[in-house]
Symmetry: none
Subunit: 202 residues, 4 copies
């Protein structure tokens, strides 16, 4: 019985933890770090502020995890594409398109990688996240270069530029909340831009 309770307990605990993360994610997505106070997270997650501190040592730690879990999820998807079948060019295009599409559906999550967090600790995590993203792109760039598909280039810089290019291009539309049709064209343009940027004119 003690065993069973313990199991149930752990399940509930894990549940609460996820609820807190989800609430924090939602708040950042909707209003940036500005809107994500501990009280607000507590309110949305249906727990108390005190409970937050049972699962996370500090507000900073919570939001570090918000960022890194979101980025881990995205990176997993991108990795699957990047490490899949097809030419380096095709995989790069698919990866950029995949990220851009999801970002346009919930535009403010991508935005979270841009918003300046209140806490230096979170800020450090944000920078690491961007690097995680670019690491995925580095892989496909390296392969493309090795295969002779892409010209020789700094994979570090190119990957960073790709991440910068599409986050910049994706943040803008938040302003003029446009239709699907425009989104398609936007995604297409970004994908084209990135392909051209890393491939030869030849």
């Amino acid at each position: 019985m003690a065993y069973q309770r313990s199991a149930l307990m752990q399940e509930r605990l894990a549940d609460n933890r996820q609820r807190i993360l989800a609430a924090a994610r939602q708040l950042v997505a909707e209003g940036g770090f500005r809107a994500a106070s501990v009280t607000a997270v507590a309110g949305i997650s249906g727990l108390s502020t005190g409970a937050i501190y049972r699962y996370f040592p500090s507000k900073a730690a919570l939001f570090v995890e918000v960022l890194s879990s979101a980025v881990a999820y995205e990176c997993a998807i991108l990795s699957a594409i990047v490490d899949g079948e097809g030419s380096a060019t095709a995989r790069l295009r698919a990866a950029v398109e995949s990220f851009a599409r999801r970002a346009l559906q919930g535009p403010h999550l991508a935005y979270a990688f841009i918003a300046e967090p209140a806490d230096p600790e979170v800020e450090a995590a944000r920078i690491l996240c961007r690097r995680d993203f670019s690491n995925v792109f580095k892989r496909v760039l390296r392969q493309g270069i090795a295969d002779g598909e892409f010209p020789k280039q700094s994979v570090d810089i190119s990957a960073a530029c790709i991440v910068g290019a599409f986050t910049e291009a994706l943040v803008r539309p938040t302003e003029h909340r446009a239709k699907r049709r425009q989104d398609r064209a936007l995604i297409r343009s970004i994908v084209d831009f990135c392909e051209r940027a890393v491939t030869n004119g030849g």
Copy 2:
């Protein structure tokens, strides 16, 4: 005599205004908007908090000016290059290189154009600033397309991507404060990336 005093006065006032702006710029550059409290600005500028409010109606107004004056200065330089002589490709390369070089000298100022500030008013200014930047690039893109130097593409998106690409790539180095030698290579890589991105595919 009254005339002279007035002249001296005006000089000192202009001086103070500049000192405040410089202090604010420095703080943002060193620690982001987070670190730029009115008290800190006052402390660094050598004035009192009250004095800040003689020169700027609000903290937000001060930082809006920090952003827009910096961007105006940069845009003027970029415009001179972009609207100058030479092929569209050459001018684009020169513009990107010029911006990147200066950004690497004061890396966190470029950062200010990326990080979302805490204040919505300043945030609005930041978005306008980025648009100002991309407008400069749009001009050279349009000309390059008209001249047949660049393939047909969305100048809106490409310009945004360029701005995103190099700001992203420029923010990174802040971490590993590197040597000049690396800076040269970094700049070269970014310029190459941007050129390829808009010229390839032809």
Copy 3:
């Protein structure tokens, strides 16, 4: 157990709320709105400034409640008298006397209804409070006129004048903190004044 705690909690919360209101009341009574800073209220109530904001959304809201709760209490007493038995004259006298007597015990609270507070929001509440007072007197005036006890007159103006007359007369004594004996005479004079003011010489 959770139930009991909740009950105790609620009691303590209500208690704190009352303590804050009492502290605010006391400060206004002793030194006017001027002396009633949030810090002072916190100090006297034995709570922190932050706690004040758990119970009241703003300083203005707190003082609006200070005024309106005091006025609600007074109006209830006056209404009971005014809507009771006896001639209109007798009830008017009793009401004025009742108010004056209590006002002399805590003279500066009556003062709060006279002095314009610094905050426009509170000022609006103050005006409403005075109107609430005069509404009570309007009722007895209308009845007195209907019964032929009082001559025809503007009940609006007369009621306002009555409120003005006794608040003015009641504020004065604050200066020369007098004895009970004088208070009696003062009350008597005010009551007489008000009766004469609304009744015929016939």
Copy 4:
């Protein structure tokens, strides 16, 4: 020559002093003590803040004089009426009417006697001013009682009540900025109220 300059000087000084007082009066009249900052007074008077302190030792001293000069002016007018010809009743009516009429033209000056000033020194002056007013009314009350026109009563209290009654009644209309026609009726009602209040019961 030195003599003449001195004379001109003194004139100009007196002029500045009056300008400052006028500016302060205007500000209080338009927006209460809240709106009457030293900077605002300086701006309207066409002088500098520093100059204010050449003519008045402190902000409080300035506003004490604003109040007492205004009250002196009003009291002079009322005194002329009260100490003039006619029955006590007629003079009382004329005095109340005169004050009420002028108060309705510049309603916010009467209002200055109600607004709580930021400074205790000014507050003390405000109370003295109200006493000055009631002293004028005391005179006519005493005469009326001596002549058998008014019943025996506390002249202190009755005078205070009269001042209270009409200031209260006069402040109200500020809200619904009414027409002359209504003003006439309002003045008439106040005058009647005050007459009845001191004459009835005989």
